[in-house]
Symmetry: C2
Amino acid sequence: MQKDNQHNNPPRSVEDLGEFGLIHYLTDDVKIRNKSTVFGIGDDAATLDYRDRQVLVSSDILVEGVHFDLSYMPLKHLGYKTAVVNFSDIYAMNGMAEQFFIDLAVSNRFTLEAIDEFMAGVKLACDHYGVDLAGGDTTSSAKGMIVAGTAVGGGEKDKITYRNGAKPNDLLVVTGDLGAAYMGLQILRREKEVFLANPQHQPDLEPYSYIVERQLKPEARKDVVEWLARNNVIPTAMIDISDGLSSEAIHLNQASGLGVQIYEEKIPIDHRTASAAEELNLHPLVAALNGGEDYELLFAVSQKDYPKIKNVPGLSIVGHFTEEPGAFLITKLNEKVPLTAQGWDAFLQRENKK
Amino acid sequence: MQKDNQHNNPPRSVEDLGEFGLIHYLTDDVKIRNKSTVFGIGDDAATLDYRDRQVLVSSDILVEGVHFDLSYMPLKHLGYKTAVVNFSDIYAMNGMAEQFFIDLAVSNRFTLEAIDEFMAGVKLACDHYGVDLAGGDTTSSAKGMIVAGTAVGGGEKDKITYRNGAKPNDLLVVTGDLGAAYMGLQILRREKEVFLANPQHQPDLEPYSYIVERQLKPEARKDVVEWLARNNVIPTAMIDISDGLSSEAIHLNQASGLGVQIYEEKIPIDHRTASAAEELNLHPLVAALNGGEDYELLFAVSQKDYPKIKNVPGLSIVGHFTEEPGAFLITKLNEKVPLTAQGWDAFLQRENKK
């Protein structure tokens, strides 16, 4: 049977196809592009060949109702995001993602067409980032949708970057801008509540398209890893920002046995993020520090790399590492405020007192 | 805080610890033993180094209520089985499993003590098979428990065995005995029904301990992969038996573009499996052909390896590959019965007519 014929028929359920049929249905158009992928889908395991490079592996699980809400997250976006979030972990090691494995459990409320939508997003992300879809498993669940992704990549031994290599006086650099994905989520939640109260309401997300897209269709910073390689910059420590600048900076300084200071005025916040925050009576700095899901990279570089970094658009030097332990924010008023991984409430309370 | 103190306190929930605390709590006793594990838990990704070997990756997802029933599956066994099932996929490629990544989503009905039990099973399996627990992710779920495991291993390029390499006249060899895990499941289900009807009932599983253990605590055949290496036998095709002999043999013959014939009288069935089948009015052959979850290995070897294989306890030559396509069972009465991947009902009906 041709796949196109299947698509012209009414969507069917997972059970109709059975496990083997489903895997073939979902993956018969998958092409292999990386040399490291010797054998992908279709055996007990995929075979990879990384030769002289080291292999990077990262795994994440996403649960409906906990990590995503399908009432405002289209399935194709969810597939894309699931893949990108995993690729981001490989880039955060200064490596290249080359294979992706997707495990999917769905309840019988999901049609085959719905699963196809999800997989279209996964495949689009794989295409965009040059990653091979090399395996996975599909099954039914008692309730909802659960997605587990595993990304595999490669890196040169001397260039793989851990969290623990920062040195005193190293600069702390962040890519892109922060807080947008969090503000996008707040807008989506607000519109959902309005819709639930009044189903006739048509949400107009157009004014918020930048921040909503940062939430629904985040991108990982493969381009930054490529820039680092081209410019011979090897970060001394690196992490991706999934839980907010504050939490990730603390991971870096604690793993490196150092302290870190971040300057409020240096934190990159897009004007659209700031304006949405103002509309919702939130301090944009809180979104940047604690919002998360930006999938930007946060890294330490030696002072000697300052000339290479300083004028690059999209790279912001936001602070530096210190011998003295502790993570601190230096505010615009030159106050020194301790940062915490769960610093949200503390900082918010402080701001509200002002 | 010492972990031992935590264990002396009443079990707490996942939320009490938070995601970071939980990962540390669950993995602070993990030791690395394989050279290929450069860096395990604690960064964005694990770093592996397989040097001249190829890398094997396999991923599986298990859902409560679909793949396991916690009313008779102790959590420690579930953890053990989750790991072993994934290792088995690596052995089925004629490789060695060396790293394991576990993603766990649990609803708030699970205490920290329960998750610890599950992880104790995972760690026991890792110890037993010499595999490093190298990463994972823990989160909450709306309902039930969902487990996704990824096993990574290594194999020499010339020895990695796919499903598609069998040649005409190659022998079909199966390890151990078949159908026991399936019969164990039937006994557990029967006892559960009796218990639900009469909660005073104390199940006596002692007479069924072999088959129940095959279901609850299966082992993967690392020993067979080691035997093959020691004896310089490289299978031409291999798969592990997760879905029954019939379905797996069909995978091998179809992938290899051949046919296969299996002789009923050669299929290894333990007397305890046969006796449980008799008790439940099932044909033991059906359990062996279609029962699944045995995690034995099924492989093809060239006729030239016959002298090495023929007298080895625990290796049964059950058939051979043919140029003529199709998968057939040759019965004890010398009838030729077609095998199907979902051959259960067809064969059962045939048997019942006799």
